[in-house]
Symmetry: C2
Subunit: 211 residues, 2 copies
DNA sequence: TCGGACACGTGACTC
DNA sequence: TGAGTCACGTGTCCG
């Protein structure tokens, strides 16, 4: 009796352990298909490669300034639209943010500053941005922009040439961009023409057909 | 004698196995520090999370069109400059590429096409790009640009609204962008003014001081 | 008491 | 042969 019990217990125990191993090895196999250069390596090397890849990919995305997706519990990342929305989409409210970029010390000691502006879109905005940026002692080394529904979001990476008085440069940058942002909403040409129909041409966003 | 041998062999065997387990668990621990939401989960769940993260990060980088870094053996990714160069930098030669974007089927069945153009920079190029794109039945949902040394590289993501005659749209897009690209090099205003000194204002790149 | 998760030592296999 | 890796069953701890 007791012996039969013990045998049955042992059996279920080993079976449970087998299931556990199967789960682990299954994930390992999946990982192997996902990673490159991992066709014939052993388990430990596979995990080392996984660590390396995760580090590299995280670095890439953070350098690009992409929002980390793991911040919430939404697992629905299957369509392009969702990714775009999470990555960089103009929001309904005007926004102006300036921050130092991660790992931004350049080889020659200059600093990369990231600025983002979100406001109403309009055709003159590129020229205005150019004018605004010309007042700042920094060089735009990268830009991204996206528009939807008549609003524009623009990300700018500025290489700050002068190491001295960083704070002053940031203040200048902020106020210069703020002018652009506010003009989009409160500027005269906007107040007038918007009521005539939204037919101004745009570089980005909106059906291009009627331009 | 033989028995002592056998015991010694068993000992080294179990020690080797112990080392192996230690290596594996070490990588697992590293992975645990790298991944979020993995403070108190078991080994299998950790690996599942790793799989999820790798998939997500790969998707993010591929959507952004970043070059996969694993393609070569250069491990020196420590500075911003290197990353930028690998990601997107204007090259010396004019380039025009059009391709379908990975995972680009949008929820409403439209297609995302990625176009990249690299040519000489000039202030009118934004306006010219806008004009060129207005001739194509597609909507620019995202753009990235970067300039250095008087050259510009521009990445465009276009959402193709019409499913029919895709190829025709791509041909139109290509020829429209080619006009912009070639005008930068061979256009009249370039031929003339370049010799007068390169003082034309630029939105991106180049010292902004003298604008 | 069960069931899950882990580390351990061992037999089998490969180079 | 010897050193490495793997799957397995088992002992142990925890909720």
């Amino acid at each position: 009796m007791a012996e039969a019990k013990a045998i049955a217990a042992n059996k279920s125990h080993s079976e449970a352990e087998r299931r556990r191993r199967k789960r682990i090895n299954g994930h390992l196999a999946t990982l192997r298909t996902l990673l490159p250069n991992t066709i014939k390596t052993d388990k430990a090397s596979l995990l080392a490669e996984a660590v390396r890849s995760v580090r590299e990919l995280k670095k890439t995305t953070s350098e690009l300034g992409a929002t980390t997706m793991s911040d919430d519990d939404n697992d629905n990342y299957d369509d392009h639209t969702t990714l775009m929305k999470k990555f960089m989409f103009p929001s309904e409210s005007d926004e102006l943010n300036i921050s130092y970029c991660n790992n931004s010390m350049d080889s020659d000691g200059t600093l990369i500053v990231k600025a983002s502006i979100c406001c109403e879109d309009r055709p003159e905005i590129m020229m205005e941005l150019r004018n605004a940026l010309s007042t700042v002692q920094g060089k735009v080394v990268r830009a991204e922009m996206s528009t939807v529904g008549g609003r524009i979001k623009c990300l700018l990476w500025l290489q700050m040439l002068e190491n001295g008085c960083k704070e002053g440069l940031l203040v200048q940058l902020r106020s210069a961009l703020k002018v652009v942002m506010d003009k989009a909403t409160f500027g005269p040409q906007n107040m007038g023409q918007d009521l005539l129909g939204n037919k101004r041409p745009r570089l980005l966003g909106g059906p291009m057909n009627y331009v």
